[in-house]
């Protein structure tokens, strides 16, 4: 047996962990390029299109704003303040969730803790990982925003300055999130979900109060509303908040005050480094107690399901025959008991409803100018894209997740393809409930006339039908029965196909509705649109439903032919 004492040098271990992670990422990338070049190419093209679209949109907005000095002075700093304030909240939550899972739930942490690794190395590694995972989307979406602004200024150095602001900002919510994750593990290990839901509920309640206050300006002119909005956003501009430093720094940079911009960059960076150091050292020092609490309390007792969720699940599908009703009820119970699924839907649609409640009634300003119908159309676009996100991530994997229980499905007294009816019924119930609620809220907020209300509700139902049909049908046609991780199923070749098909369907339907809206822009919204516009809308609705049915049919045929 070797008597050589093992090395315990800290830098070697952290470097080793980073090298292993880098190796795993390289292997993953090589595997993806080798196994699914089409998927990688499609994703790259899609990201490039989205990226260019965002760049073009922001470039146009900033160009227009800078043409009018007053709006530029007021709006641009406000936009950045608000953007970074929202990012501060979202990234803090995102980092807290990722850090909690990485530190206290994953088998990797348990494995590394049994090795001669000091907690500081593990915590540092997980901190860096959570920063990367949580902030890549911000960087991806934020860079075109920053570049579009930098494009308004002639100096090339702005590009680097703006990127530096991004990189300096990201660790701040990361550090706060990691401290939050530690606190939840240490003090609320048995109530992780209720703690997160409680904090989210308080935030949403505050936003709701703020939103209700803004309703008093709904009949005011656009300028009054904008100024009242700026007043209400005053708290975001507090000098102690990081978003205010970044917003001020960008504003100074934009106006050519390099020294002031550099000072705000240094303030942001210094705070980011200090907070990172504080969070990592504190969590590392107190890690073992939190890990023990999180591990011990998870085993403290059996989890009890809310009895109401069973009742709801049973009643919701009364119209289905018994075996299918059981499958649909099982899916609904799983959905209601999985916070990952329902919380994402609630957050996405909650933010949408909040946005709608804050939207001033533009009816008086825009009626007669040909722009009024644009607002409900944009709402329809937002709802459709959120629905597509939900169906691709959560509905598509439903059939694949039955893979290990396929023998059970095969024993049911119905053809295997018929289970798609249950999956479809579940998906339609959930998506229709939230989509119609959001759309009803939008038409009431905008005081939309009966004709366009009916058109928007019909299109919403048709899009729900088409997207659910695609997700269930393609999910059955291109399943991954061996995989038990829903995220991986959604990212597979079938998931990518479903994503592309869903985007194409939503794009086609919305283009048709957009054309009809454009043709009717000078008509009062309670008057029937011209026949051609109506026909276009009817075609869009029919096409969406037909596509959904066709996908379901193909999926059922494939499932009937599978040998268990």
């Amino acid at each position: 047996m070797s008597d050589t004492p093992p090395s315990t040098g800290r830098p070697q271990r952290l470097g080793l962990l980073c090298r292993v992670k880098a190796r795993a990422i390289c292997n993953h990338a090589a595997q993806a390029l080798n196994d699914a070049p089409l998927r990688i190419s499609a994703s790259a093209i899609l990201i490039a299109v989205i990226w260019l679209g965002i760049y073009a949109m922001f470039y146009t907005v900033f160009h227009q704003l800078r043409r009018t000095p007053l709006e530029a002075t007021v709006a641009i700093p406000l936009v950045f303040n608000f953007f970074f304030a929202a990012m501060l909240v979202l990234l803090t939550f995102s980092n807290a969730i990722i850090a909690y899972a990485a530190l206290f739930q994953k088998n990797e942490s348990a494995y590394l803790l049994t090795s001669p690794l000091i907690p500081l190395d593990l915590v540092t590694l997980k901190y860096l990982e959570s920063l990367l995972i949580s902030s890549w989307a911000l960087v991806l979406l934020g860079i075109p925003l920053m570049l579009s602004l930098a494009g308004q200024v002639e100096s090339q150095s702005f590009y680097w300055l703006f990127l530096a602001f991004f990189l300096a900002f990201i660790p701040i919510p990361g550090a706060v999130g990691m401290l939050g994750a530690w606190a939840v593990a240490r003090y609320f290990p048995r109530r992780v979900l209720s703690t997160v839901v409680g904090v989210a509920a308080v935030l949403i309640a505050l936003l709701a109060v703020w939103g209700i206050r803004s309703m008093q300006f709904k009949d005011a002119g656009i300028e009054v509303w904008l100024r009242s909005f700026q007043d209400r956003m005053g708290f975001v501009q507090s000098a102690l908040l990081p978003n205010a430093w970044v917003g001020a720094g960008i504003d100074y940079a934009l106006n050519g005050h390099f020294h002031e911009a550099a000072m705000y960059l240094c303030v942001t960076l210094a705070n980011a480094l200090f907070l990172s150091w504080l969070a990592v050292m504190f969590v590392a020092k107190n890690f073992d107690t939190a890990f023990d609490r999180a591990s011990s309390e998870r085993g403290a007792g059996f989890r009890v399901a809310c009895p109401a969720s069973g009742g709801i699940a049973g009643l919701a599908f009364f119209y289905l025959p018994p075996p299918l009703r059981l499958i649909a009820a099982k899916d609904l119970r799983t959905f209601l008991r999985d916070p990952l699924q329902w919380s994402q839907l609630v957050i996405l649609f909650g933010l949408l409803v909040l946005y709608l409640s804050n939207m001033p009634t533009l009816r008086t300003q825009l009626a007669g100018q040909g722009w009024f119908l644009l607002i409900p159309f944009l709402n329809l676009c937002a709802i459709s894209l959120i629905l597509a996100t939900f169906t691709c991530r959560f509905v598509f994997p439903l059939v694949s997740l039955e893979g290990r229980k396929l023998w059970l499905i095969a024993l049911l007294p119905v053809p295997p393809g018929r289970i798609l009816v249950a999956k479809f019924a579940f998906a339609m119930t959930v998506t229709l409930l939230v989509a119609l609620t959001a759309m009803a809220f939008a038409v009431v907020a905008l005081e939309l006339g009966l004709v366009w209300t009916v058109i928007h509700l019909a299109v919403t139902i048709a899009i729900c039908f088409g997207l659910c049909g695609f997700a269930v049908g393609i999910g059955a046609r291109l399943p991954m029965f061996g995989e038990s991780n829903a995220a991986r199923i959604a990212n597979g070749i079938g998931g990518t196909t479903n994503l592309l098909a869903s985007v194409a369907l939503v794009g086609a339907v919305l283009t048709a509705v957009g054309v009809a809206t454009w043709r009717s822009r000078f008509l009062p919204d309670d008057v029937l649109p011209e026949p051609r516009a109506l026909v276009i809308c009817c075609c869009a609705v029919t096409t969406s439903i037909a596509c959904g049915l066709a996908a379901l049919e193909r999926g059922a045929q494939h499932l009937n032919g599978i040998e268990v």
């Binding site: 047996m1 070797s2 190796r23 292997n27 049994t114 073992d288």
Partner: protein, 252 residues
């Protein structure tokens, strides 16, 4: 206190250890001493406290009361030194899915400070004996449970630990590998290492264990060699009969 595993006889020492999950007591006042060069089998029904005890030995859980020492190092206050002596094979094997088996084993070797030459020598031997050469250069995500278990076992033995803690080590292994693993455990013990093994397969405990401990509802109800357990039962029972007799009579 024991200061050096090589000089003293105790490899693992649990003194008055208790652990609760909320209100549920998992382990109660457990005192256990495992000697250097010993293979110890830890038996008990499901939920008896075996895995909780193992997790306290390897430092994943902190006892509510009592102390745990490995080779004289307190797991609570000097965890890094204690863990440097331990290798742990959990019941659910962990591997980085996007690494090959070889890359994972290299990572473990470097983690424990093995020289490249020593690593290659030991690894070659383990690959041969555990019969993992065919897939060692494939990504671990494609491994079956048994394949993963074998690679994890190789990783545990790679740095020649002084204390090997294994939780249900034979689940998913084929008979040939079970025989190879048993032989590796015996060889490790002959070289002065200690094996602490939790298992439900009583034949394996009967075949390789020097001493056997039986835990039920968090309490150690019997400990000793197979002969001592038989003597206490006052009949020539098999281990299975002794185990069932002890745990059932207490449960009744």
């Amino acid at each position: 206190m024991v200061t050096d595993c090589a000089a003293e006889e105790l490899a693992i020492a649990l003194t008055g250890v208790s652990k609760s999950y909320g209100r549920r007591s998992a382990v109660r006042n457990l005192t256990l001493e495992i000697l250097r060069g010993e293979i110890f089998a830890f038996l008990g029904p499901n939920g008896a406290g075996k895995t909780t005890t193992i997790k306290m030995i390897v430092g994943l859980l902190k006892p509510n009361a009592g102390t745990v020492e490995v080779c004289g190092h307190s797991v609570g206050s000097n965890g890094v030194a204690a863990k440097a002596q331990i290798a742990y094979v959990p019941d659910q094997p962990f591997l980085y899915e996007k690494l090959t088996g070889r890359e994972f084993l290299y990572f473990v070797a470097e983690m424990y400070g093995l020289s490249v030459q020593r690593r290659d020598e030991v690894l070659q031997e383990l690959i041969r004996r555990l019969d993992i050469g065919e897939y060692i250069d494939h990504m671990t995500e494609s491994y079956s449970h048994g394949m993963k278990q074998k690679v994890v076992l190789a990783a545990a033995l790679l740095h020649e630990p002084k204390v090997l803690v294994v939780d249900e080590p034979m689940v998913g292994l084929d008979p040939r590998t079970i025989r190879a693993a048993k032989k590796l455990f015996v060889e490790l013990a002959r070289r002065g290492g200690t094996v602490f093994m939790s298992t439900h397969i009583l034949e394996i405990a009967e075949a390789v264990a020097d001493r056997i401990g039986i835990i039920n509802e968090g309490e150690l109800i019997s400990i000793g060699t197979l002969a001592q357990l038989r003597a206490r039962a006052q009949r020539e029972h098999s281990l299975e009969e002794i185990f069932l007799g002890l745990t059932e009579s207490l449960n009744v």
